[in-house]
Amino acid sequence: MQFILRWHILILFLLVLIPLGRAHAAPLPSGRPTVIEVGVQPLGYPAAMIGTVLGHDAILRRELAASGYSLKLVPFRKGNDMVDLIGTSLSAAIVGDMPAIRMAIRSDVCMVGLTKKTFTSVVARNISLLAQLKRKRVGYPEGSSAHHTLLQALASVGLTEQDVRLVPMDIDAMPPSIEAGDVDAFVAWEPAPTLTLVKNTEARVLFRGASSDFFLVSGSLVRRDPQAALSLSAALVRALNWLRQSNANLQQAALWAAKDAESLNPRLQKLPQTHVIEITRREILDVPAAPVIVRLSGHPPLKEEFYFLKKLGKIPAGADYQRVERAFAYDGLQQVLKSPQRYRLGEFEYRP
């Protein structure tokens, strides 16, 4: 009997020692900090600016460290690459509306705030009207907000996907492709349109469709460690406040962002800093109330995009839009804004 009791104690001891894995970023009992990975997109603006400012936020790192976390920014080429990782290795991410919907359907996420209010543009060379896209080669990132914008554009002049020759490609490959004549047009978000328009006077924007980027955190993090999630939310507000504070801050952030982008793609065409700053101002800093998402009655967020993904088969046919609405119901940002001093929204400590 004593022998059996000892064995039970031993098994229990071993079970306690076995780590539960990294699916949930929780502080390790051993004292070693757990890594909170935040997915960022260095190739897109102003997401790259916000992402890099978050990475340099010493206050955030201290607050997370105090909770037993360390911060790690993980670069991705596009938001769709992060969909399968959110809730597992990724605890937070800056993604566009389409990946945000897919994440909300696939796992438990909480929308913190707006990081971009911009346009996704259809850019073409030597074409002035949308209707002239018929039988032309159009580069596009499949399943993205840009894809959605392309369908919007085609539908507005009575065309369908079958009327154009679709060429799937990455965003950063689009400017050189249209320059080389590999495609007649492409649909993408910034900075690809601006890069093309700056370099080629024959290029024109045929269509712009509104799109957004969001900063979101995994639901598991919010439930397990709401304070950590609020720290991330406060870092977003702080970052925007810092960028709004001065042009010097914007220039500094642009330098950091360019470095991040070069690390991911050394051959990437570099956008002039003035354009980066202009894009950042236009698409997030000057947007009234940003990053707060003001709910307007009769305008459910991302509903049209939700059904677009459903039509494409990118999300299950039985997916429920209420999961998206629940993700937007997260009030972390409001909590932070109500206590600006507590979350040090007016204090800035960004280190290179």
Binding site: L130, F207, A210, V292, V294, L296, L333
Partner: protein, 967 residues
């Protein structure tokens, strides 16, 4: 070459063509160039004016829309900045916070603080004149605590929905729209955030500052692009998030805009929160170019801007330009055509002159020459020189050609005449029938055959005029099918044609089809030969050949019959002789005598048979005498009446005064008996037979009907006619009735009528037969009358020897011709005419018997011994000559067979006479050679005895030779 008509020549001239080609090419090229310039050629990378213009217009619209959006954003940014300055002012915030705090603690409102705050707001309104309708500081309970209009202070704020949004946590700024007094207004809010003593925000929002402004003011206050929004038919609008019309240039009332297709379309598209440029067709058919822009005012809201321009008006300058360009192009083309016309005339003029010269040459003016004028292109000068050289050669060649043609024409005419002569010389008819069956050509021989002139026959239908009526339709059908190519041509064939003067002629045709170069049948060329006479001659020759064949057959049969009769006679000689010898040996009352007599009668009947056979073969006995035909007929018919069938009658009609007939009486008897016998057998019971004699003169035509191959010469003939009313004969039976051994009777031997034929032939007569099935038979035999005289006048038959030969040349005849003749000793009746020597009374005379048949030799020796003669025998001629040479003195008489191998009897007789000229010789033969024996015996002392002979005959002939042999 015919000269072209004037009108056509004008149209087809080089100058005209150059102008036409250039004109068409210019129009096509100019038109194409214009089209490409206007509308472009995307596959060539050419962008047309139209596209460029459209792009320019679109760009202008987009610039206008972008500028307007930027101006609105700038205007909003100004308002936001103004409100932010006020709301962030520490003094303003403190006063506002203090006011709200005092309001909460005091019952009476702190008027001074409110005035202070309102003054700030009024100052702001005045600072930006014509911008704000009102400015107000409002609490979350919608209470106005300060306002640019002091009357509003303390009241409830009218835009409550907007306030709910404006107080959203974190929504520092908010922009919205509302409807006030029939006009849209823009609401801009700024949260008033309290700060602690250190100046840090506390997060508390006691009130919001709201500014109200007019969108139309904001839109109009900014500069518009000339030619876009101010032109008639063009439009710029600003719409809110719900599609409501906030402002428009030119200005439209919201109610009015709802019924305008342009405004409706722009509003619908502008609220989609997208930006684009597009060419659109409105409900009323107008086409517009529009640019849309989106003014973002928050995470999920914004305004829309639309700038539109009427396409027709936008492109009006281009249309005008195109028209002017087209007119200019047409003008240039017209000028170019004038120049081309002038240049074309410079080129075409010399060519036309050259053409006229060629036409003159073509029309026969071989002296026509071209003259190259000054200024003419060198190529034309060279061409004219070359042409003149060519014209000279043509003239020379023409003259040479005319000379050759004349010569050739002369030759052809001559050849044609020759050909005509050849055709005319041809013995055959040459006729060419066209496909319609009419004569297209006919030569002289053909015309002569048809009995008309050549000219008269041309075009005459062959089938209707020269074919027997019963052949016209059939031959015409065959000809027509031949012309249609449905039937093979009969290269050779024969048919009858009708001539105008020669009746129906049989023509042998050789035909060939005539075809044209494409192989179509044009007619038939036929060579016809009149073979009427030739065919008739062939028929006659065939008949002669048939007759000759028949004659040869009969002759062969005669030879056969003669040979058989000869051998039979030898046998009968042996039989009859032996029988007679036996009868002489026996006693007269011996019962064997009766049997021997029967055998003797049989031998005689057999002898009759062989005589018939010899008669048919023409080798029968021929003892010509003057015969009274009536008497002979009467005697024989009387004898034969006993043979008549029951009820049958025979009538004899003898013509009186008939001349005597030179004939063999025995054979005449054979004729009568055979004819009457046949009639009796054919008539049967109860029928009548008539035997008639007569005399008549017959011509060649009548004699041609004779059944004998050899027709007698015309003359007078005696006739015997035997007629019966029996069953008659059909044609086949009648044809063969004279053939030997042919008989329709069961018991007949078939030699009776054959013998009659042979006898009549032998007498140079003729036979006529008339018969038909059921019509009886009438047979009439004719014998040539010998001359004047009548049996009736004498009343008795006069027999006279006739010396003229009637048989063919035989061995016997040749022997008689050499020996000088002999006497005839008939087997049945021996005529004593020769000089006979008395035999030696004491020593029987030696008789040499010469015969190749041993039985004959033995019988003859026995008969001679019975008569008392000594005998010697020899089996052939050489042996006989040898024996005679040895016993010439002893041998008194030689009985010599005429037909023997190695040496015939006549030759042997000559040898014997050469040994002893006075030797007496009796010739013997199974043939009937009585005439030859008669001549031989009459001149040379020779006698003849016909086999088979009996003792009496032998004794008689030996008695004539040697009347005194010992007995």
């Amino acid at each position: 070459m015919n000269a072209p008509r004037k009108g056509k020549r004008r149209l087809q001239g080089i100058r005209d063509r150059i102008i036409a080609y250039f004109g068409v090419l210019s129009l096509l090229g100019g038109g194409s160039l214009l089209l490409v310039l206007v509308y472009g050629a995307p596959w060539l990378g050419i962008e047309g004016i139209h596209g460029l213009k459209q792009a320019e217009i679109v760009r202008t619209l987009e610039n206008a829309a972008d500028l307007k959006r930027q101006s609105i954003l700038t205007w909003l940014a100004s308002r936001r900045s103004e409100l932010a300055v006020v709301a962030n002012s520490s003094d303003f915030v403190e006063k506002a916070a203090a006011l709200l705090k005092e309001e909460a603690t005091r019952a009476v409102p702190p008027q001074e603080r409110a005035r202070f705050l309102s003054q700030h707001l009024l100052t702001l309104k005045r600072t930006s004149p014509d911008t704000y309708d009102s400015l107000a500081l409002v609490t979350q309970t919608r209470k106005i605590i300060a306002a640019s209009d002091p009357d509003q202070v303390g009241g409830s704020y009218r835009y409550g929905d907007f306030l709910d949004t404006a107080f959203t946590v974190g929504a520092t700024e908010q922009i919205g729209t509302a409807w006030a007094e029939g006009h849209p207004v823009i609401l801009i809010s700024r949260q008033v955030v309290t700060r602690d003593r250190a100046g840090r925000e506390t997060g508390e929002v006691p009130a919001v500052l709201v500014g109200v402004t007019r969108p139309q003011q904001s839109l109009e206050a900014l500069a518009l692009l000339p030619g876009i929004a101010d032109a008639a038919g063009n439009q710029m609008i600003l719409v809110g998030a719900q599609g409501e019309l906030l402002a428009s240039v030119p200005e439209r009332r919201p109610g009015e805009a709802a019924h305008d297709p342009l405004m409706t379309r722009l509003s619908q598209q502008a609220m989609t929160m997208t930006e684009s440029s597009r060419l659109e067709t409105l409900e009323d058919g107008r086409r517009i170019l529009a640019a849309y822009r989106f003014v973002p005012l928050g995470a999920a809201q914004g305004w829309g801007i639309a700038v539109a321009i009427d396409q027709e008006k936008a492109f009006a300058p281009l249309v005008s330009t195109k028209t002017r360009a087209a007119l200019f192009g047409l003008g240039m083309i017209a000028i170019a055509l004038l120049l081309v016309s002038w240049g074309g005339e410079r080129v075409a003029g010399p060519i036309r002159e050259l053409r006229n010269t060629v036409l003159a040459l073509e029309q026969g003016d071989l002296s026509a020459r071209s003259v190259a004028k000054r200024g003419v292109p060198q190529e034309i000068v060279d061409l004219a020189a070359t042409f003149n050289s060519m014209a000279r050669r043509i003239e020379d060649s023409h003259q040479e050609l005319e000379r050759k043609v004349a010569e050739r024409t002369k030759e052809l005419r001559h050849e044609k005449e020759n050909a005509r002569r050849y055709l005319d010389l041809a013995g055959a008819m040459l006729v060419l029938l066209g496909s319609d069956g009419c004569i297209g050509m006919i030569n002289r021989a053909g015309a002569q055959l048809l009995g008309a002139s050549e000219g008269e026959l041309l075009g005459v239908n062959w089938f209707d005029n020269f074919l027997p009526p019963d052949q016209q339709q059939g031959v015409r059908e065959v000809f027509d099918s031949l012309m249609r190519g449905e039937q093979q041509l009969l290269e050779f064939y024969e048919n009858h044609i009708l001539t105008r003067d020669k009746g129906e002629r049989l023509i042998s045709w050789h035909n060939i089809l005539l075809r044209d170069e494409e192989g179509n049948i044009q007619g038939v060329l036929s060579s016809g030969e009149d073979i009427t006479l030739k065919r008739q001659a062939e028929l006659e020759r065939g008949e002669l050949e048939r007759q000759l064949l028949h004659t040869q057959k009969l002759e062969s049969l005669g030879v056969l019959a003669g040979g058989i009769a000869h051998d039979f006679n030898n046998l009968l000689m042996a039989i009859g002789g032996n029988v007679e010898l036996v009868r002489h040996v026996l006693e007269q009352d011996s019962p064997a005598i009766k049997y021997l007599e029967n055998a003797h009668q049989a031998t005689k009947r057999a002898g009759d048979l062989t005589r018939q056979m010899l008669a048919y073969s023409g080798k029968g006995g021929y003892s010509v005498k003057l015969v009274d035909l009536n008497r002979l007929v009467g005697e024989n018919v009387d004898l034969m009446k006993a043979s008549l069938r029951k009820g049958a009658t025979v009538a004899v009609q003898l013509q009186q005064g008939l001349p005597l007939l030179e004939a063999d009486p025995g054979q005449m008897q054979q004729v009568i008996v055979n004819l009457v016998t046949n009639a009796i057998e054919a008539a049967g019971e109860g029928r009548a037979i008539t035997v008639t004699t007569g005399v008549a003169s017959l011509g060649a035509t009548q004699l041609a009907k004779s059944r004998l191959e050899q027709k007698p010469q015309p003359g007078t003939f005696l006739s015997i006619e035997v007629a019966d009313n029996g069953c008659g004969m059909d044609r086949a039976t009648s044809e063969r009735m004279f053939d030997p051994f042919f008989s329709t009777k069961f018991t007949g031997r078939g030699l009776g009528l054959s013998a009659v034929q042979g006898i009549v032939r032998g007498h140079g007569g003729a036979i006529f037969v008339e018969s038909g099935p059921g019509a009886g038979t009438r047979v009439k035999v004719l014998f040539p009358a010998s001359g004047p005289g009548s049996a009736a006048s004498t009343g008795d038959m006069v027999q006279a020897e006739q010396g003229r030969p009637v048989a063919r040349e035989t061995v016997l005849e040749r022997a008689l011709a050499k020996q000088g003749g002999g006497k005839e000793i008939p087997s049945t009746e021996v005529a004593a005419s020769a000089v006979a020597e008395e035999p030696d009374a004491e020593v029987p005379e030696m008789v040499l018997i010469v015969d190749d048949e041993e039985m004959v030799r033995m019988v003859c020796r026995a008969m001679l011994r019975g008569l008392g003669y000594r005998t010697m025998v020899a089996s052939d001629g050489p042996e006989a000559v040898a024996l005679f040479r040895e016993h010439a003195a002893e041998i008194g008489v030689v009985i010599m067979d005429l037909s023997m191998p190695q040496m015939d009897g006549m030759t042997a007789a000559e040898h014997l006479r050469s040994i002893r000229p006075d030797v007496r010789i009796v010739l013997s033969s199974g043939f009937s050679a009585a005439e030859e024996a008669r001549r031989l015996s009459g001149h040379q002392g020779a006698q003849f005895i016909q086999k088979p002979y009996d003792l009496v005959s032998l004794k008689k002939v030996l008695g004539q030779v040697d009347p005194g042999p010992a007995r």
